[in-house]
Symmetry: C2
Subunit: 345 residues, 2 copies
């Protein structure tokens, strides 16, 4: 299982550079690490030797003594989903200058599989881990994580001691709900995400609260699994109920599925039923009709997650919870006043 002997000779090491430049290995090291107190002339000599030899410092050797890997791990469930993919992208963009980012997808989100992923990363020597697995089970597992490593959860609020950066899901859902109520709808139905997902739960709470504030009746909850397919399936159920005039969906794909189900049942959007999504995926503006939705700034979230993690890495006690990112409501045409208000059919 050894690596084949690639290339002609063994790659140059620091001593080779030192020899060629006529200095000691330590001086080469100084040049490499931008130490002051190296004569410009000497530095130039070393630099020349480095390029001539095509020398590249050995990361493992350096790590062995500095104890820094400049690597962090990101654990995610399914990076094919727009949300996780965007967060991952945001993290990577933010980390690029200072860290390598290593990824791991947890096949399921039970305690075991999440903890295994953390363990794997710890074995690799990552300096910290960001977790995009906002399920209650995962969060519980992480809260009592046996591995001593800086950890940040991402996407939704978690309780201490587990640090997190979050979008204010509850507020987002509340704003959307109030908007629909404000349009004149008697009440708003909610097609939620899977029960054990924290952000799904937060959105449910926000929706409920807005309903309660307005004194509106709280319809039964219907939940999907984030996919358009589930939105479509549950959509048929929703479409049967003629009293439904407004539906808040927990993400955009489900809204898409719902709209298709609605259309198949001959119920028009927004004339008969108003639909609002969550996320603002790039395609949302081109749905038929264009989807009114709650935009999340995943890039910003990624940046904050990184900041928080770095804070944790360098100062164990930086435990002040970060402000949640507020989502932005994007009004397009999938939501409108109900027929009872406009007077139309």
């Amino acid at each position: 299982m050894a690596l084949p002997d690639r290339g002609r000779t063994r790659p140059p090491v620091m001593t080779d550079v030192a020899q060629l430049a006529g200095v000691s290995h330590q001086t080469v090291s100084r040049v490499l690490n931008d130490h002051p107190n190296v004569r410009p002339q000497t530095r130039a000599l070393v630099l020349a030797a480095i390029t001539e030899l095509g020398y590249r410092p050995n990361a493992a050797a350096r790590t062995l003594v500095t104890r820094r890997t400049h690597t962090l791990g990101v654990i995610s469930f399914d990076t094919t989903l727009y949300g996780p993919a965007s967060m991952l992208y945001g993290i990577e963009r933010a980390a690029q200058d200072n860290y390598f980012v290593s990824i791991a997808s947890a096949p399921t989100l039970d305690r075991r599989s999440v903890l295994d992923a953390v363990d794997r990363f710890a074995g690799q020597g990552v300096e910290g881990v960001i977790v995009i697995v906002p399920q209650t089970s995962a969060v519980e597992a992480l809260t009592s994580c046996p591995v001593d490593i800086p950890l940040v959860a991402m996407g939704c609020r978690t309780s201490p001691p587990l640090q997190s950066v979050a979008v204010d899901n509850a507020e987002g859902a509340a704003v959307a709900t109030r908007y629909l109520l404000g349009l004149g709808h008697r009440t708003v139905h909610h097609l939620s995400g899977p029960p054990s997902w924290l952000d799904a739960e937060a959105r449910v709470e926000g929706w409920q609260q807005a309903l309660r504030e307005a004194g509106a009746e709280e319809p039964d909850l219907v939940s999907g699994d984030w996919s358009a397919a589930s939105g479509y399936a549950m959509g048929h159920q929703i479409a049967q109920d003629d009293s439904v005039t407004a539906v808040l969906c927990a993400n955009d794909p489900m809204a898409l599925g719902l709209m298709r189900a609605l259309s198949e049942r001959g119920r028009r959007v927004p004339e008969d039923v108003s639909v609002v999504g969550f996320d603002d995926i790039p395609e949302a503006a081109y749905f038929l009709p264009p989807l009114t939705t709650m935009r999340q700034d995943f890039g910003e979230l990624g940046r904050r997650a990184l900041d928080t993690l770095v804070g944790l890495i360098f100062d164990r006690d930086a435990t002040e919870p970060a402000e949640p990112v507020v989502p932005e409501f994007v009004v397009r045409s999938s939501a409108a006043p109900p027929a009872s208000v406009t007077g139309a059919t």
Copy 2:
């Protein structure tokens, strides 16, 4: 810039384990590496010491001597796009057991930025790199990559010596075009991807070839940038031309944008214009109307990319180009015979 002193004492090392187990460090190493010739009793002793101490081998130290990092790098352009995200996911799932996968996104795909990414990875010591950046510029840069490292390009065919695993884009586009032609359309328009993207070009070729084979007139090419927004923008242009009855789009989001533009101009899909996409994103089945499209098996592609890369890592000369993955045509309802055939308006 040193790491803070996390935890109470320094983590246990091999010698600690050896001492506790009453053996030499070498024996511990043997146990760790599943060497034969260790008495079961001794092995048990060592294992016990390991768990008692919570010992975890130091990856850097091991790498330093074995020269293996068990890490590979994936360079991608925008992992937010469905295609790249899925490929990345596929790679990660396939690699999980044997490698860590490190990611890097190239902000642009010029020579410089791609080569920088490879260089960064080389500095980290990855054993190989998979590149999901199928632009001509990137491929050219990679073909003459100065860094001696196993490299596999992903998504579309490249010319040797750069290895690649590919989807047969040309054939896919040809099949879709023939399908539309077979439906009775006089010709098929094509809303292509950006010019410098290899897979976009391959699809254009396939489309052209199918047209030529059928003796159909070849309309001017219209190209977008993969986004629904660009599909929408170009869609308006296409919608103006009443002679257009069938459009093959180079991916699904552009098809979505196109359909919206069409609908705004009062042209129905598929009655007035047939639309076919490419990729089969999970949402495609829920577009209005459901999109007929060419499905790509990105997971399989990821697996193959990994296989190829591993082949390259262990046997420099395994240079037989892999068979391209054939996409699967998925018929839904966005394409139909033209009005001239059905006799309707």
